[in-house]
Symmetry: C2
Subunit: 193 residues, 2 copies
């Protein structure tokens, strides 16, 4: 799925400018999709050229003017077809977990920092999420509630895991050598007797 399809999807919920599309994506799709201006604006331009969206200039008071786009009939058709043909992929890319995988190659202090960074990130994200959910819950479609609930559930599980295993990992890595295995004569080796 490319950013063009995503823009079409967001615009199917109502008119928006490129800037506002990014805001929507950050608020509602952050668990499973991201898009920067460098991909949104070109996508919008291409979509308009093809007649899938229509843009118009809107003056604002107290703010710079913006260009809001609305989805056209042809755009809706394209969106339906794109969604129908989309494979349900689900890919995670986490340098964080690669880092923990190679925990024994990291300075102990740095490992702790990495873990704490993620715990804080998940904690804050979850709080913002619950706040957003409470605020919009009654006007969400079933699909939106489902997707948001999925994200919330998974992040909560991840956070719980991190909080419950942080200490253990730090302690265990402290008594391993540079191969990652328990040091001969160390506490872990003794425990294994």
């Amino acid at each position: 799925m490319d950013v063009k399809t995503l823009c079409l999807g967001v615009l199917s919920m109502g008119e928006r400018s490129g800037y506002e599309i990014k805001k929507t994506v950050e608020e509602s799709f952050h668990h499973f999709f991201r898009a920067g201006y460098g991909s949104i604006y070109p996508a919008l331009a291409e979509l308009e050229r093809a007649g899938h969206v229509a843009g118009r200039e809107v003056a604002q008071e107290g703010r710079p003017a913006k260009r809001v786009y609305g989805i056209t009939g042809a755009g809706r058709d394209l969106l339906h077809r794109a969604l129908a043909g989309e494979e349900p992929r689900h890919v995670v890319r986490s340098e964080f977990l690669v880092l923990t995988y190679f925990a024994h190659l990291l300075p102990a202090e740095r490992l702790a920092t990495v873990l704490d960074t993620m715990i804080v990130r998940f904690r804050d994200g979850l709080a913002a999420d619950l706040e957003h959910y409470a605020r919009t819950n009654d006007q969400l479609t079933p699909g939106q509630r489902f997707a948001l609930g999925y994200g919330r559930t998974v992040v909560a599980a991840a956070l719980d895991y991190l909080e419950r295993h942080r200490e253990t990992l730090l302690d265990e890595v402290a008594v391993t050598d540079e191969t990652g295995r328990p040091q001969a004569g160390g506490p872990l080796a003794a425990a294994g007797d």
Copy 2:
């Protein structure tokens, strides 16, 4: 983090061919990283040119010959530095969740198929995971156990969520119109009174 660093990391655990690196990544990193031959082989070639790995031809009986690579001292240095400088990013990209987000734009049958596909995928993945974990558990480093446990935990939570909300989503979408909101006069509208 690029595939080069990943290859270095895998090779820090022992000599391997490109083919075997891919196997390792699929077995042990599948929850949070993927790499295809199209990126592994060029990465290995570049790494060797720079002296970070050393390859040698190994004849096998009953199989084609392979070229196995070992990490060099310079390679280990580079790996340590790369890991030290790596930001703990964690990104999910899921067309699956985008699809559920726009559930009301999908044919009901297709939505059910998408949901079931993911349930089966997670179920099978979890089973393979537990099997792999049981088989290798005693020889894993703390970091490896941590990362694998994270993946297992999160997939289990996701699977549980899907199983518990599949029916609800299907039922709710069935009684909404093309805007995703409850149909006037439908069961949901009545329930809201």
